[in-house]
């Protein structure tokens, strides 16, 4: 469900929750469009999250209690801001650590350091 300019969707699958939670850790509250734009900016358009992937994930995070929402009425429409909960704070730490460890393992497994040196 990603439109990824550089990466295959298989590669990033499973990291979307971590990306969203980590963004919410750094920003007090964010809404959907803002999250997609932020990811786009931060990655220089390398990762573009689609709406079709973002909203199901946000709803799942809300259901799990990692985020809560705050509704703001803008004219005739409602904007939902997502805010990290205390539980979410712990989840984000766990997830980021897990991903970092995974990346380290992958580096070792794929022997990336030496191949980079070879280049």
């Amino acid at each position: 469900m990603y439109i990824c300019v550089m990466y295959s969707s298989e590669l990033i699958k499973g990291t979307l929750k971590t990306i969203v939670l980590n963004l919410l850790k750094d920003n007090e509250k964010m809404y959907g469009y803002e999250i997609t734009q932020k990811v786009k900016d931060l990655t220089n358009d390398k990762i573009q999250i689609t709406e079709g992937a973002l909203y199901p994930t946000l709803h799942a995070l809300e259901k799990q209690g990692d985020v809560i929402t705050e509704k703001v009425y803008i004219g005739k429409r409602v904007r939902k801001y997502y805010i990290l909960t205390d539980q979410g704070q712990n989840t984000v730490t766990e997830r980021v650590n897990e991903l970092a460890d995974f990346m380290k393992t992958m580096r070792f497994l794929l022997d990336l350091d030496s191949s980079i040196q070879n280049v």
Partner: protein, 388 residues
Amino acid sequence: MYSITDEQVDFIHNDITRRGVITEDVRDNILDHVCCIIEYEMTAEKDFYEFYENTIARFYRKELREIEDETRDLITFKYYYAMKRTLKITGATSGLLILVGSVFKVLHLPGAGVALVLGLALFSLVFLPLNAVLKFRDEKGEKNRLLLSIGMLIMAVACIGILFKIMHWPFANILIQGSIIAFIVFYVPTYFFTRLRNPETKFNGSINTIFMIAVCGMLFALTNNKYSTHIADNLSDVDVYLDKQVDHLHTENAETVRLVNDADLIKLHKETEALYGLIENTKANLIAKAEGISTQEALKFQGSLSNPFSNDIVLNHFVKAGGEFSYTSLSGAVDNYNKQTANDSIRPLDIADLRLRESLLSILIHDLTQMQLQILIEESSAMAKHSH
């Protein structure tokens, strides 16, 4: 920055709804997101509707409601594994319990009932419905999903029926036969025709259909299985023989009283006749109600009852009834008989000899005849004593 109008917001809201996004939270999110994109990315000279169409197309692969479906799936996903685990555990447990219960039942060992009730209840109330839910989720194609889930639910009802049957609880036949009929009428034809259309499933589908029809037929025939006609006729013969004995003794006693012409015996005969007559009429009343015939016809009734195991008739027309042919009336008559014959060294009658707890029609009639036999024997032995 483009400024979006209220009419345009309404238009987007209605369009999203029309595309099948009905959950309010999801709809609000998409609406705000689309509005943001339009406000930030659309320039004044562009056509709103065209821009909107291009924007909304970015949200999905086939249709917009994918987002809603995906949301629902993600939310229920974490229950999925728990459900599968429960399915495995309840499946294994219920299978084991049913197996143990049925073996115990055959061997008449204690605990069979408990094991069967637990096993079959778990099987039909947890395992099968859970299976239906999971199949509904996993199966591809709307028709297959519905078909499988409905099949599972019908099976669950049939299993409950079988449990009721094994435990001798009421409504077992209705449950079993009802579910078999539903299965044959709705499930089997739908199954057969959906499989028939696809060349790949045609052969297996036909074979499975035959299996289902055969099993349903056998089960249907088994549900109402009672004693064989052979046994039923033999049981009825026992009663016919008893009736003959009673009739014979009744005529003999009457003849003896006429010949002996003794005041004490005539008094005893009067009491015996009164009670004998009441019991005879009570029996006739029960038969009349059970067979739907007149009391006159019932007095001459021969042969076996159409429903010898009915207890409704016993309850409604004897135990709980009032009037001449009720339990209360008979009980009064027995008391009166005992009182009147107390000096005649007659063995008193006990109304408790009637086995009312089981309250089956044929048993009650049999017991009433036994009562008649007892009073006639007492009368006969009094006559024998008198002649000595």
